[in-house]
Symmetry: C2
Subunit: 290 residues, 2 copies
Amino acid sequence: MSNERRKVGFIGLGVMGQAMASHIQNHGYPLFIYNRTKEKGKLLIEKGAIWCNTPKEVVENADVVFTIVGFPEDVEEIYLGENGLITNGREGQFFIDMTTSSPSLAVKLYEEGKKKGIHVLDAPVSGGDIGAKEARLAIMVGGDKEAFESILPIFKTMGTNVVYQGQAGFGQHTKMANQIAIASNMMGVSEALIYAIKAGLDAELVLQTIETGAAGSFSLSKLGPRMLIEDYSPGFFIKHFIKDMKIALNEAEKMGLELPGLSLAKKLYESLAENGEENSGTQALIKYYR
Amino acid sequence: MSNERRKVGFIGLGVMGQAMASHIQNHGYPLFIYNRTKEKGKLLIEKGAIWCNTPKEVVENADVVFTIVGFPEDVEEIYLGENGLITNGREGQFFIDMTTSSPSLAVKLYEEGKKKGIHVLDAPVSGGDIGAKEARLAIMVGGDKEAFESILPIFKTMGTNVVYQGQAGFGQHTKMANQIAIASNMMGVSEALIYAIKAGLDAELVLQTIETGAAGSFSLSKLGPRMLIEDYSPGFFIKHFIKDMKIALNEAEKMGLELPGLSLAKKLYESLAENGEENSGTQALIKYYR
């Protein structure tokens, strides 16, 4: 079957999902969509997408279904609930979860799918809303390599850096490594800038001076300037970052691995969330120190 | 007085100091040198540098004296000891400390110098031994702006990114901000990679996948690969990094500022040092988790 003929389902039409689904649609794939609130499907429907009232309806119509929702509980419901994808799926279908979710759950979905001859991939992304809009996401994929290769043409409508990481769960594990690296670095960036501010330095000049050297990082250069002008609007929500850190710590615990930097970062972010910052962007960490 | 006529002193001929002094020498400045062990001055002496037996002898001969030594105690002795620079200095001289040292000490030296009409600058560097060898150091300068401008031509023989940060101590404060950003990020990089290893991922592939995105940093790209091949040879010594973190925490405490990420990083590095890793490179942090 040529890729252009494949019928594609897309579940989860947040900022990321809408942009990603529209790229698939723009490449000529018939699109079947579902979301908790129908309104978010409006633009896609205007361009020809078919609205479905349940994941079950999506799976009855599509050959390949992508999901990108909020939390692992949502993923589990969409795949294994009464109206779920695997529950109602059939042999030969492909389901790809792009939510940042638990590696253990990804393995479970893979195994449940396999029992029915369904191919399940875990394929979380990085690159944020801008990466999604510009179809420049990094996509980290776990599952069977043949399934990965079959879906690769569709992945490529959404991302530029699509990498097969290995067996089921390894896409999620790679994303966890990504989040772990970011978590402690956010403390470093926040602490460096608050120190500069409190010491009376020109913090913008300090940032420009140090970002080109050994202290340089994506977070320092992209989020540091927002910290300095106190722009806390969300690129990436604190509540979602806390979810990711919890998953990573949970997985690490299963491996017998202690991650004190990550534990501390989670603690600081949770303290912010308790103070009403759960819908701020992750750069609001500097507020912890102010 | 043209810059080329200025007689320059250089104290502290470690890996960094030797390279920096040789650039000054190569630009035609007469050079007077001192170091605890004379042997490290050999190459400079062969090229015409004059050996001095004490800082006092340096200050009797040179108009401008640079210092880059180990610890704040060493700096204090070289400036304020019996044979020290300020103790034996005269009006109109310039002394520039390039050691990463305490901002408070930098202010003290500035004030002691001022009493005798001596211009003191704090000018710590970043860029490591390679930056020093290639004359591509970042130099962060605090003190009087006129003094900075007078010394700028000599700074430019050693670095490409020479930035005046403000009053006395502000060069050191900027370097502290730099070290603070690095400290927590080193935990992030170590924890991300140990997680990838323990999860059974291809850690090198994970590194390549995540380094171009939001988890990207100088430390991840430059030190991450060394962690993976277990190359712990020092680019920057753990013992010196601990010294810097102590200074930063001490200064932060004076400002009433808590830096939990930095405190934790210092604790992990101290635990490594206690286990005999004080002369390893900072990338040996991953050993804490192994």
